[in-house]
């Protein structure tokens, strides 16, 4: 089976989804091809969700050009796509004169990179802005434009909007080979995947940690990915959400950052160590480093309340610390969005914007559709709904009153909606990332068996076929009783 599109985007991470959304406004058919069975299962999943302001990248780099712009665009994107975005501002805490000099350097970078309204502040202002920041901090770079999102929610909102505007999503479609016909062909690329073949005229490589493989298969630029692994810890909800607090960065990473999340948790992110590609294990040494680092910034943090620890790899291109966004110099019609490591989440809307520009410059004709709708209606969130809306929802369907996840107050109807939306959840973790069922402090100890039942019913399969995440992650075998 082969389907033909104008554009195929390989990779449904936050980058691929953002590009799909950006291009869905034009009169072109788009297919997003994803190796996993759901979106954002690679680098986008193992991420702290920070929308960095943009003072960190070295001026002149691609990162520097898209980070501050991405941060700026998040305001509009959040409104149009209906995802949670908290622009709280952030502080980089300094503890001595050497740090202060470093903060000055960051501020100058930020100025060049277009970061608005930064200033260096002293202890009084630090504690006014974030009372829980360490009392040992003598100075800080205050940056009001920093914020945070749930990266999965951003990716899904973007892809839902792209699909609503006609895009197609193919899951479990690992690209195994790419055939490139002579130029001039209307659909010169043919991608072979287990889910069917995809032909397209333009190919966008947004494959994250798989970007080097895709480029190689297409006969384009040869590069190597480095698996710069990071561990991340999520703590339980706090009465007041913490503002992102950063240490002075090191040459390879921003260091251990403490931040609130859009759901009121606290996240400690992230370590950085080059490890075997594909290694998503957490390490005791990394987790300890996170907790130690976090205590330096927020001394009263209760690190007993760990809800989850996880890890992932940042897609770094060997030999460069920068993003690679542009048309392939070897294979025209192939567009690369590779090496999208940190600050990939913060930059995503601007990477999409830049991709549009790059394609226009390459001569791709982009005509806006008359029926393009930039608005995505977000799903009902029972927990956040006012009392009267809660009543209305239950009246519309009693399943809104049937609690499933008690930690995050997620009723059955919200879970069913997460499965039925396009692209819907096909796994327990997919449900969790869409509506938070199982994301809370009990980590689905109470609700997992109910989620299995609901998924089996909605997907029309046996409970033994319900997956935790991707293929092979079965949760239960068959029945124990009533069988001979």
């Amino acid at each position: 089976m082969t389907e033909t599109f104008d554009i195929a985007i390989v990779g449904a991470g936050i980058t691929g989804c953002a590009i799909a959304r950006q291009l869905a406004r034009f009169d072109l058919s788009i297919c997003v091809v994803e190796a996993a069975n759901d979106i954002a299962l690679g680098a986008s999943k193992a991420n702290g969700g920070l929308v960095h302001a943009g003072y960190d990248p070295t001026p002149g780099t691609v990162k520097a050009q898209v980070n501050a712009r991405g941060c700026e665009l998040y305001g509009t994107w959040a409104q149009e796509l209906g995802f949670l975005f908290c622009r709280t501002g952030s502080m980089v805490l300094g503890f001595n004169d050497e740090d202060r000099a470093h903060l000055e350097q960051l501020r100058r970078n930020g100025y060049v990179n277009g970061v608005p309204e930064q200033s260096i502040v002293g202890p009084d202002r630090i504690h006014e802005l974030e009372p829980r920041a360490s009392a040992d901090a003598t100075c800080a770079l205050w940056c009001p434009s920093t914020g945070f999102v749930d990266p999965f929610e951003v990716a899904i909102a973007a892809l839902e909007n792209a699909i609503a505007n006609g895009a197609t999503f193919m899951r479990s479609a690992t690209v195994e080979a790419i055939e490139v016909a002579s130029s001039g062909d209307d659909a010169r690329f043919t991608l072979a995947t287990p889910a069917g073949n995809v032909r397209c005229r333009y190919l966008i490589n947004a494959a994250g940690n798989g970007a080097a493989d895709i480029s190689h298969m297409a006969g384009a630029e040869e590069f190597q990915m480095v698996w710069r692994q990071g561990n991340i810890v999520v703590l339980d909800k706090e009465p007041r959400t913490l503002m992102p607090l950063y240490p002075v960065p090191t040459p390879v990473s921003k260091g251990v950052i403490v931040t609130g999340t859009v759901h009121g948790n606290t996240v400690i992110t992230a370590t950085a160590a080059v490890r075997e590609p594909g290694d998503t294990q957490t390490y005791a040494s990394d987790v300890n480093a996170l907790l130690t680092g976090a205590h330096k910034l927020v001394p009263d943090l209760d690190t007993r309340r760990v809800v989850r620890a996880f890890a992932g790899g940042r897609p770094v291109i060997q030999g460069t610390n920068d993003f690679f966004i542009g048309q392939s110099a070897v294979v025209p019609g192939l567009f690369q969005a590779a090496g999208i490591q940190s600050p990939g989440v913060a930059s995503a809307p601007a990477i999409a914007e830049r991709m549009e520009l790059v394609m226009r410059e390459a001569g791709v004709e982009l005509h806006e559709r008359a029926d393009w709708n930039p608005i995505r209606r977000e799903p009902d969130d029972f927990d956040r709904a006012p009392l009267a809306r809660k009543e209305e929802l239950i009246e519309s369907d009693p399943a809104w009153g049937q609690i499933v996840c008690r930690c995050e107050t997620v009723p059955e109807a919200e879970i069913v909606a997460a499965i039925r939306r396009q692209p819907g959840a096909v796994s327990v973790e997919g449900v969790k990332r869409r509506c938070r069922a199982g994301m809370g402090r009990c980590q689905s100890g109470f609700c997992q068996s109910r989620l299995v039942t609901i998924l089996a019913r909605e997907l029309g399969c046996d409970p033994s076929e319900v997956l935790l995440e991707d293929a092979g992650s079965w949760l239960v075998e068959g029945p124990l009783k009533g069988v001979r």
Partner: protein, 130 residues
């Protein structure tokens, strides 16, 4: 020619929450079968002595498990043996119970299976199911 051997064992009595630590001297034949329980010490009451003898000849336990339910608001009915049955029969009993299906409604104490494996002990429901 006697090849019997004596052996000293230690285990807790589980008759009551005191859980006395019993020291038991037993004589076994060449096949390891208990010939005689020679002495029991460490028990604070006569039940410990009885328990030790039972434990070395034929340990008895209450078996608790579940049975599939048809037509009820639960998939499984918790069940128990009304009294303790020989521990060595538990695996056999489980194999038998695996295929059973009972019809709702059921009341606590209802007999699910009479005379389980000729023990003269019934398998009974532990809970109501509507």
């Amino acid at each position: 020619m006697s090849t019997n051997a004596t052996e000293t064992l230690q285990f807790n009595c589980t008759t009551c929450p005191s859980e006395c630590l019993l020291t038991v001297e037993v004589e076994r034949d060449a096949n390891g079968a208990v010939v005689e329980v020679r002495s029991v010490t460490g028990n604070n009451c006569p039940r410990g002595d009885k328990f030790a003898h039972q434990e070395l000849t034929c340990p008895m336990r209450v078996l608790t498990t579940t049975v599939a339910v048809s037509g009820g608001d639960e998939a499984l009915l918790p069940v128990r043996t009304a009294e303790a049955i020989p521990l060595e029969l538990h695996a056999q009993a489980m194999a038998l119970i695996r295929g059973l299906v009972v019809n709702a409604p059921i009341r606590m104490g209802d007999v699910v299976l009479k005379d389980l494996l000729n023990t003269n002990i019934n398998l009974i429901a532990s809970m109501d199911i509507e």
